[in-house]
Subunit: 188 residues, 2 copies
């Protein structure tokens, strides 16, 4: 099961890119994809009118409801589940080709980094295991390429040429990024 | 983690009893309860307006969304998860005092059997591990007690007196049933 993260600050286009990746890999490679998304605030557990809502309203901490075609689990919690725990849960649920994690910057899985401007890139380039960058537009892409070039030059002096830049794509040219992702998935 | 099932035919009062059990054990024993409920038909996965809905609409088979206080998992499936799988999932999610399963007659956990009439009792008495019976009203309770008595008499001839009837409660006198359940939980 391949795991990839899509990270970036608010309004950097994470959900839209995740949608494009899901649609593409589902339609062209028939992949079974699970997604994990972080939400800062409490959200509505949405069990309205279902018996599981009655269980929850009565005080159940968690509810599962399943039919032959649908499975829903809702739970109130005091602290977040770890990513490892969530992946173990997904593993219990069946066999999937890929998990796409939207958010969770500090986790250690391979990442697509979405940046609105070069400042985002500077702030986030230290997160672990960035595999590619998706810039807001061509101008931002050029800024990042320049930044990468400078860093490569200074790193090559220190590290004997080991500094290696990752590919930079533009948000609205998603086909280049998707093509890169296909290759990455084959190699990973 | 204690596990109990509440089974019975449609409109036998299962969900209402499960609500009463949850409310009682949550308030008086501070128990953390998880519930599992079966649904015959496809139901709405209820992710409207959430980013996880966008993931699902794009083709993701499953989605997890979590905040510090809420956790929601939705999945499309081709066949139902086994009870063992679901219990393993619950185990991954945290530490709970009790799982109440509404439905799933054919599973092998201890059961509270809800009956609308003596015919329900006759039909369902062969399911595994019935611990108590909850009758629709006092008249049905009397019918069942009579039926139990007959069966005990015929069984005691065959089994050397080993036949043992389970307690029978009335649906609207839930306190007797809850008191029995408290004792049962202590002994189980």
């Amino acid at each position: 099961m391949k795991i990839i993260q899509v990270i970036g600050f608010k309004n950097s286009g994470k959900t839209t890119l995740v949608e494009k990746i899901i649609t593409y890999l589902t339609l062209t490679h028939n992949m079974k994809i699970f997604t994990v998304k972080h939400h800062k605030d409490e959200f509505d557990l949405d069990t309205k009118g279902k018996d599981s809502e009655r269980h929850a309203s009565a005080g159940a901490v968690g509810t599962i409801m399943q039919s032959p075609t649908t499975f829903a689990l809702n739970m109130k919690q005091h602290s977040e589940l770890s990513m490892e725990n969530m992946l173990a849960v997904i593993h219990q649920l069946g066999s999937f080709d890929m998990v796409i994690i939207e958010g969770y910057k500090l986790k250690c899985y391979p990442k697509i980094l979405m940046v609105r401007d070069v400042q985002d890139y500077v702030t986030l380039q230290q997160v672990q295991d960035i595999q590619c960058i998706v810039a807001m537009n061509e101008m931002v892409r050029q800024d990042i390429l320049e930044q990468q070039k400078k860093q490569e030059e200074s790193e090559s002096k220190e590290n004997n040429g080991k500094g290696k830049s990752v590919p930079v794509f533009v948000r609205h040219h998603e086909h280049e990024m998707l093509h890169w992702l296909e290759n990455w998935l084959q190699e990973a």
